[in-house]
Symmetry: C2
Subunit: 222 residues, 2 copies
DNA sequence: TAAAAAAAAGGGATTTTTCCTGTTTTTTAT
DNA sequence: ATAAAAAACAGGAAAAATCCCTTTTTTTTA
């Protein structure tokens, strides 16, 4: 598959071999107007394969990947190659992820069960119009604005530092706060403080709420 | 792709269009010895498309699907078409799912990031030898036997009835047990009883443990 | 239908969690 | 070096969770 001179140059970043092959075969069907520069397993692999002399116009990006995930990869692209447009293709359809990606400036967000035809439309739109926002995305946006308001948008606002992470993980156990204090070599009262500030910041009212937040945001695995 | 007379007949059950296409193109590469009878979006779709006059030898089955998931689909196949061999191809790699599927009698379990070559090996093995168990599966099995022992294998043993489900879901909120009692039109003391019996059955020691169990086993969505 | 089992409810006590209002110590910034 | 900010720590108290053990009511089963 040698780069075609007058075509849309794209790259695929996804750790699932079979899925990439599926994309490749569909893109072949679309024809000469789209050519694939390279495929990468994850963000780091993408960094290696990006060649300044021959940059892709669009990168089809998965989110869940080892080493460097989609979020990190897009952040890196924004700094180093801000002209490359990113089109997310992911199974993850949570409002949180969609919004997070949109805030990072991606040009579109497709579900992995997208119809082949829509992929072509999306590539065309992103290339010629600069974006491809479906009703799915618009819906998420509107819902976020309507409900969550500015609460969840400021996800940077409640990032946890190392000790808070440690604490929230221990809170997801059956240890008492006294046990947790011992585990962290802190006074029980200090742990009390951690709890209270996290309750405030994360907008929860009990240890159960804290635990569910931790799971939801990946601080603990089940 | 018309069914080849002397080939392995297979069917694909997966709700992700692109992924199915990826599989299709790879199977085409494998050549004439494998032919695809049909593709289905989920278990129900599969039921419709199964033709008793021309049954597949092997079904490549995803787990997460709408309408009827992989577990249900395999259960149904065991009753109605026990001769069809099932090869799971799923992103889900949790010990729980692997063991659950093995208990249902599937002949192999592949990750979706399987190498193309391994897919051919797996199909060959399942067709000629009857199974394809990788080190991945063996590892899970050994680990289950070593650790969890018979605890998690008897997952049937701690199935929750409707009231217990309702309770465990409410316990994953920031309501007090008194609030939960009102919600369920029961005395707080009865709710106390639900908690205590669930603590015992599910082997947890606190409401946090209960909440995490609920999430892990899908009684509440995050 | 009587006995047995299961579900619902209660009394009462201990432990843990949660929430106040502070002080002391450490870190950061000017 | 010093003021300001953040982190660590405390006392005390109310609310909630947890754990005993017992009784009543309902349902199941022999």
């Amino acid at each position: 598959m040698t780069p075609h001179p007058n075509s849309i140059h794209i790259a695929l970043v996804d750790d699932h071999n079979l899925f990439r092959k599926g994309l490749v075969s569909l893109i072949d069907i679309i024809g000469d107007k789209v050519s694939i520069l390279f495929e990468a397993d994850n963000g780091l692999d993408m960094q290696k394969k990006l060649d300044s002399n021959q940059l892709p116009d669009i990168i089809l990006m998965d989110i869940n990947m080892p080493e460097m995930d989609g979020f990190e990869a897009v952040k890196w692209l924004n700094v180093h190659f801000p002209t490359i447009k990113v089109l997310v293709v992911s199974m993850i359809e949570s409002e949180e992820s969609v919004i997070k990606m949109l805030k990072l400036g991606v040009k579109g967000y497709l579900s992995k069960d997208v119809e082949p035809g829509e992929l072509e439309n999306a590539l065309d739109a992103v290339y010629h119009k600069g974006f491809y926002y479906t009703d799915f995305i618009t819906g998420k946006l509107v819902h976020t604005l309507t409900n969550g308001a500015e609460k969840d948008l400021f996800d940077e606002a409640h990032h946890l530092n190392e000790k808070e992470k440690k604490f929230i993980q221990l809170a997801c156990s059956e240890l008492t706060y006294n046990d947790i204090a011992k585990e962290m070599f802190l006074s029980p009262k200090t742990v009390d403080g951690y709890r209270n500030t996290l309750f405030e910041r994360l907008q929860v009212k009990s240890r159960v709420g804290l635990a569910l937040y931790a799971v939801k945001h990946g601080y603990v695995k089940l």
